[in-house]
């Protein structure tokens, strides 16, 4: 919030010198200077900020009273119906060395205003000459009754009014009779305005205390937070919470105010002006003199700043809690509807010790939170729904966590629980409170190294922990991107696979900055080793996080230092990234990492460049799939890993199985999965169709191995459709020996397999029977497809169909983007089969209602002739329309 607007410009500089009547004050100037110098020396020698502010205030009071008395004496006018008040910071006796003196000249009526107003300019000039910066206003008693709707700052400053000199009965009248009514009346208006001013101010500073060079007055966590809290309490009638505080909050607040006040005095004295920015240089200076600390421990600037952030957090936390407790005075229709919807979610949380009230998650049974599982259930709910945990709930949990008489149960979190939080749509909604409560550091002690850590550079605006949490928040806001920079990346965020691993990478990517290592990436990777063991990550999960941390700067460097329109750049980058799924994660990580450096770091230009590289690389993957085939004999490590898991298998057998698969096969399957596939392969002699069904993240995976045969892909897609399964992703690969390995990820729309686990056997048998020709597919499909097609799609997706003969040496690529619907793949696969097209490789993906399918096709072992392509286009357009 700006300085209270009191009528005259702050720092008003008089044009005329003082006239004779007050020339006797000429000795006061040097006296004031001497006093100021004395107070400064005391401060430099360790006097507390509180004492310093008090003495500065007394100095100003004394000078003002003397000037006021002299002025009245020279005019021979008794101060009847006229008095002088201190407002704002000066009113509450917190006058900093170079702060303005906020003054109000109060007149009993218009007549006394007419009589005394000429004195104001002279009074201000005199004080200016004495070295005080005056910001003054004049009001009659009647004017004080009015609510100035465009000047809430004045009313807020009036809350801190203090009598200085003049007609004391006038001040009493103002206090007891005049202001009591209007102040009561103005409360809703002032609370609204205060809330608005605070939101504007906090937004201006990115809603975080963690600035590298913070403004100790205006930034979140600064002294303005403290004043705003006081105003809110005052306006709300000082409703103190009768409950026991989790810690002695009053003492914490007093310490924080003293610490920040000491810094502000130091900044004023160092800058010789009202400049409240704690720059790097002044941080070093403050740390050097152990400003605000009396434990005799030497600290470097970074360590001293951690103390600053601790105190700033106290003031900011308190303000946010008060802001949250105060309901909106008036809500728009939209807000009312949103609140009603959120309120209705109470039903959804039945049986759990929390509920949604006024759009916030509140605790309903505080005792339950001695069990950490309840806390994690609450946090999971926040990350799933995006509903924030209320500050009051957080405060209660903090109380329970810090009191030994309430022993915590289940304090170890398992990776699946953390994974659910990290993999949800709004992980930041849980991670913020977890960080404030100390739970994040409890789970990931590696994060402690960057807690409130200032690392100085030209670009970063926030501490390292704040930067890391912001990366995650920038991703979650992609659900509804606030500006055009995020538009392209929205779909990536919605569809990214293993979001939990991406978020874990973001939490750990910079922890090395707090470690004594030359390159922070090396430190972050060391931290991952420890964290992964503790969390018991699977080797593939750890490898993925390792890659993302190790290469978290690669995409940004490629965008900025390489020609991304050069195919060689794209090819080299793609070779390093390996799969589309990983590219998606790396792209989102890069987007978030640049975005969280400072609000301007991700320019639309950079966002566009990043997106271009993503598109080129993604296309490179889908268009070069058959270019790079496996030569199993070159993969000695993999062969050994598979051999260890496939008891009794010979190396030659495994080589025969792997030879000729596209490289993507290795990239998307772990050695354990490949060993499982090999086990199925070995059984093909006994049973020509081998299947396996596994439950994965919220879906099922069907793996099928068989010798290649006509319309195989279409048939499997048809069986899945007949069982009511929705295919969301699929790969179809074939090895050199003509063994086909198809993987389908599908969602069980009608929960058939979930509710009837026994049906899995029948499901697999049905696939085998239909593929082997023992059972017909059409009768099964008929009823299912008719019902599905009767339902209109929620979002219409136009069909596009492209052929590409250039990307592959042997195949024609066909990319289809169309409306997803049950039986779609069966329809496409059947059309391809009817026209004699063989699917060499297939990549099937979905984005919501959109299906994106890439097929590598041949006809009689060759690329498709142009006429065949045209015919195919016609047939498919007819099938898909």
């Amino acid at each position: 919030m700006a300085s209270p607007r009191l009528g005259l410009e702050a720092g008003y500089r008089p044009k005329k010198k003082m006239t004779d009547p007050v020339s006797s004050l000429s000795v006061l100037g040097p006296q004031c200077d001497a006093q100021r110098e004395r107070i400064r020396k005391l401060f430099d020698n360790g006097a507390s900020a509180q004492d310093t502010l008090r003495q500065l205030c007394e100095l100003a009071d004394g000078a003002i009273q003397q000037v006021f008395a002299e002025l009245l004496r020279s005019r021979q006018a008794p101060a009847q119906g006229f008095c002088l008040l201190a407002l704002g910071g000066y009113g509450r006796e917190m006058l900093f060395p170079y702060s303005d003196l906020d003054l109000l000249f109060l007149f009993g009526n218009e007549k006394s205003e007419e009589e005394f107003r000429p004195l104001i300019a002279e009074f201000s000039r005199t004080l200016w000459d004495l070295g005080f910066r005056v910001s003054s206003a004049g009001r009659t008693l009647d004017e004080c009754r009015r609510i100035e709707e465009d000047n809430a700052e004045f009313h807020l400053a009036m809350l801190d009014r203090r009598f200085l000199d003049g007609d004391a009965t006038l001040f009493e009248k103002l206090d007891a009779k005049v202001m009591s009514g209007p102040e009561k009346q103005a409360r809703p208006f002032l609370l609204n305005e205060l809330q608005r001013l605070m939101c504007d101010r906090l937004n201006r500073y990115g809603n975080t205390i963690f600035h590298l060079e913070p403004n100790v007055k205006e930034a979140p966590g600064g002294l303005r937070d403290y004043h705003s809290t006081l105003w809110m309490r005052q306006l709300a009638g000082d409703r103190r919470d009768p409950r026991i505080s989790p810690v002695n909050e009053d003492e914490l607040t007093r310490n924080a105010v003293e610490f920040l006040s000491a810094i502000r005095c130091f900044l004023h004295y160092s800058n010789a002006r009202n400049d409240n920015t704690l720059t790097y240089e002044l941080q070093a200076g403050a740390a050097e003199r152990s400003l605000g600390i009396d434990d005799n421990l030497r600290r470097n600037a970074a360590e001293w700043m951690r103390l600053y952030f601790r105190h700033a957090r106290t003031l900011n936390r308190q303000l946010l809690r008060y802001m949250e407790q105060r309901p909106q005075a008036t809500m728009t229709l939209r807000q009312r509807l949103v609140n009603a919807t959120l309120g209705a979610r109470q039903e959804g949380t039945n049986g759990k010790p929390f509920m949604v009230r006024d759009g916030l998650l509140e605790l309903t049974n505080e005792q339950a939170y001695a069990d950490r599982n309840a806390t994690y259930a609450l946090l999971t709910e926040a990350s799933r729904t995006g509903v924030p945990v209320s500050r009051e709930a957080e405060r209660s949990i903090a109380y329970i966590m810090t009191h030994p008489e309430l022993p915590q149960r289940n304090s170890r979190i398992a990776w699946p629980v953390l994974s659910e939080i990290l993999g949800a749509d709004y992980p930041g909604m849980a991670l913020r409170p977890m960080h404030r409560l100390g739970l994040l550091i409890e789970l990931l002690p590696e994060f402690r190294t960057i807690d409130s850590l200032v690392v100085r550079d030209f670009y970063h605006r926030y501490t390292v922990d704040e930067h890391s949490l912001r990366t995650i928040e920038h991703l979650q806001e992609l659900a509804e991107p606030p500006d055009s920079r995020g538009l392209h990346f929205t779909q990536l965020w919605r569809t990214v696979d293993r979001r939990d691993l991406l978020i874990l990478s973001l939490l750990l990517h910079d922890v090395g900055k707090g470690m004594p290592v030359g390159n922070h990436i090396v430190g972050s990777l060391q931290a991952l080793e420890i964290a992964a063991d503790r969390l018991r990550l699977e080797p593939e999960e750890k490898a993925e996080v390792h890659f993302l941390i190790e290469h978290h700067l690669d995409m940004s460097a490629t965008v900025q230092r390489r020609d991304i329109f050069d195919p060689a750049t794209v090819s080299a980058f793609a070779t390093n990234v390996v799969t589309h799924e990983r590219l998606q994660r790396l792209c989102l990580l890069t987007y978030a990492d640049i975005h969280a450096v400072n609000p301007e770091a991700l320019t639309p230009w950079k966002a566009e460049m990043l997106w271009r590289l993503f598109v080129s690389t993604s296309n490179y993957f889908s268009r070069t799939l058959d270019r790079d085939r496996l030569h199993a004999s070159d993969e000695s490590i993999l062969l050994e890993q598979v051999r260890q898991q496939a008891l009794g298998a010979s190396k030659a057998d495994i080589e025969r199985f792997l030879d000729g698969f596209p490289r993507r096969y290795l990239a998307v399957h772990s050695p354990a999965e490949i060993a499982a596939h090999f086990a199925l392969y070995r059984k093909l002699g006994a049973e020509p169709v081998q299947t396996d069904v596994k439950v994965t993240h919220h879906a099922y995976t069907l793996t099928l191995l068989s010798a290649d045969r006509p319309a195989l892909f279409a048939t499997i897609a048809g069986v899945l459709a007949a069982w009511g399964m929705n295919i969301v992703k699929a790969d179809a690969f074939a090895n050199a020996a003509g063994v086909v390995l198809d993987t389908f990820n599908f969602v069980d729309l009608h929960r058939t397999l979930e509710l009837n686990p026994g049906e899995i056997v029948r499901f697999r048998q049905s696939i085998a029977d239909i593929v082997n020709g023992k059972q017909a597919l059409e009768p099964l499909l008929k009823g299912r497809l008719a019902a599905a097609l009767a339902r209109p799609p929620k979002v219409a997706v136009p069909t596009t169909l492209n052929f590409d003969d250039a990307s592959s040496d042997q195949c024609t690529l066909m990319e289809i983007v169309t409306q997803d619907r049950p039986g779609l793949l069966y329809g496409i696969g059947s059309a391809l089969s009817r026209l004699g097209c063989n699917i060499e490789v297939a990549l099937i993906d979905t984005e919501g209602q959109k299906a994106i399918d890439v097929f590598y096709l041949t006809g009689q072992g060759k690329k498709l002739a142009p006429q065949k392509q045209e015919l195919l286009r016609e047939v498919l357009n007819a099938t898909l329309s």
Partner: protein, 112 residues
Amino acid sequence: MMKIEAIIQPSRFESVKEALLEIGIEGMTVTEVRGHGRQKGHTEVYRGREYTVDLLPKIKLEIVLADGLVNRAVEAILKSAKTGKIGDGKIFLSRIEEAIRIRNEERGEGVL
């Protein structure tokens, strides 16, 4: 005094900066821009959507120099920004009448 405006490939920016630094030129203004000359854009299709890149990303450097330094600076930019392909960019030179340092209102080549 002359002003050099150089439109270069983003990927060459670091090399150009280093080349200028080597001949003692440290001050420059850098802007991320989009545009095209003879190097027309192209169309990329991603998941059924067409993305036409008709304005290509470039970096614009602006440097004001004393006359005596201009040729060396131009040479440094030419050498470090050139790849030989279409799209390497352009250099524009124009005369500057006056330069004023805001801090102390000093004028002339000395402020550069």
